[in-house]
Symmetry: C2
Subunit: 325 residues, 2 copies
């Protein structure tokens, strides 16, 4: 069977079953935002490929460097952790200009300062045609927050607006070139509508779990979309979920821009991906200071529409190797 028929989730399941985690020093292995190692060490890794994860006609090398770090920091934050050491891998074709690499590392450096990380190593090599970057981030958490702690009755929270990044990507595809945030674009849409959406897509900032960490029973970062990431959390916790369409937070900019683009803002919010907001659950008595969008149930994945009708939802969002419908 080809991977395009099998899908990413079932591939991951097959790999996971081949490598049972027996070591006493591994607390959480494959299947969470980051692995938890003895005694409170977290580690996560991400690879980004040109032509799959990014398009160098649409993202500047500075933005790419910044985004690569943010995406990894988000995984450590999603474990309630403090990111600390980062290693980079980068492969570029020999024709790449030195200045391009310098700007990429300037973006890395800006993010490293923002998140207070140390770059401790990596691997530079040549590629045949496309650029590949990877990062491995180590962090610490005294009490790691996994995906498996959600209990029926817990409330479901998100930390910010959803769909901005996906909407920003759709705008960027129309603009069809790199965007610099200090150079407003002329467009029928106002710059102050477009800019936050483009920025959320091109230079996302990971959300520090600080104030939510105490209340959270389970946590994941929204990298592939609310529906699929909530499904992942529920599978690991062996629970269901009910969310309310009317409570999903969306920005005015996203509503304006999605109307302009002729896109459904709800679809962007629930299946768009790359928001890098945190999704977490907390007991009903807690007030964690985030946006409550629903509650954990015994089983089933349901969305309640504005008329009170309940419908099951599928884990839609970004999946590698998933057949396009």
């Amino acid at each position: 069977m080809k991977l395009s028929e099998k899908g990413e989730l079932s591939l991951l399941e097959a790999i996971r079953s081949k490598f049972p985690t027996r070591s006493k020093t591994v607390i959480t292995g494959i299947g969470d935002d980051a692995a938890v190692l003895k005694p409170d060490l977290l580690v996560t890794t991400d690879m980004m490929l040109e032509g799959v994860h990014f398009d160098l006609r649409l993202i500047t090398p500075f933005q790419l460097g910044f985004k690569l770090i943010s995406v990894n920091v988000s995984d450590i934050y999603a474990m309630g952790g403090r990111p600390s050491f980062i290693l980079l891998g980068i492969a570029v074709p020999g024709r790449t200009e030195d200045a391009f690499i310098q700007r990429f590392f300037d973006g890395v450096k800006a993010a490293i300062r923002l998140y207070k990380l140390s770059l401790v190593g990596g691997d530079v090599s040549s590629s045949k045609k496309d650029m590949v970057v990877s990062a491995t981030l180590l962090g610490y958490a005294k009490k790691p927050i996994g995906r498996s702690g959600a209990k029926p009755g817990d409330r479901i929270y998100v930390t910010g607006n959803l769909g901005d990044s996906a909407c920003g990507l759709e705008l960027l595809k129309k603009i069809n070139r790199q965007v610099e945030f200090d150079k407003p674009l002329n467009s029928p849409l106002r710059w102050n509508v477009m800019k936050p959406l483009l920025k959320k897509h091109l230079m996302p900032q990971a959300v520090n779990p600080g104030k939510f960490a105490k209340a959270a029973t389970a946590m994941i970062d929204l990298s592939d979309g609310l529906f699929i990431d909530l499904t992942r959390l529920c599978i690991e916790s062996n629970v269901g979920a009910k969310i309310y369409k009317s409570r999903i937070p969306v920005s005015n900019s996203m509503k304006t821009a999605s109307a302009f683009l002729g896109l459904d803002p709800f679809r962007l919010a629930v299946a768009g991906g790359e928001d890098y907001e945190l999704l977490f659950t907390a007991p009903p008595r807690k007030r964690p200071g985030a946006i409550c969008i629903g509650e954990i149930t015994e089983s089933g994945m349901l969305v309640v529409d504005e008329y009170g009708a309940e419908k099951p939802f599928a884990p839609e969002g970004y999946q590698h190797f998933k057949l396009k419908k």
Copy 2:
């Protein structure tokens, strides 16, 4: 300037100067086989790209999985460390057969058992055309052995024959298809000459530093070739080196096969790369049980030929972005 004109070493230097390691918790940052983190934690990462680092017409997925792990273990061993946790990144095109991935992970599993590692996480994604794999390995060392501790007067040691892997690669290019070690090939060269060379290239085994670690003042693994890797060690230690051509250990298989191929066995041994033997230095009074090939000097990189003539040598070997001569 394009990277193909700049070369890998100067690119690494530029990156290193952009990221001064200020943190008190980072003992060794960029520029060694692995980074040393608080208190005795080691971490290393490596990326391998189809068409650059491997050719799927010549290596089986099982061998590739095994080799990816060995290459990373070699970096931890080269710090005098004990490898422990591994994370994998893999990107493959959607047309890839599920069975291919399973065999790749069977190779990973064989290596993980050999080196007693735990696979704790990773990242699976799709690629446009070529396969990309990466690994990050964490390990521990109470007394990490870096590249910077060599002193004038120290002896220079290697742990085994050099050039077998490079010779194996040249054989493989002639064979021009995948090789299975339980299926001897018909060839003018005997299978028991070819097999160890092919195996050293396709399924290298990292050398455990156990018995050498106590004596070693500096250590590196031979991944890119003796000349370039010894130069790296000497730069970090701010010393020179003198090695003796007659003492460089080469196998009889390699001598036979290189004669058959019309290649210079000495060039294969000093500039071939991918041997994954350890290169280390130790004070003259020590007897570390490895092969002494020369000594550390104040400065200069010299090779002494069979007639006693000294000649400087250049850091030849595998460098990404280096112009071919």
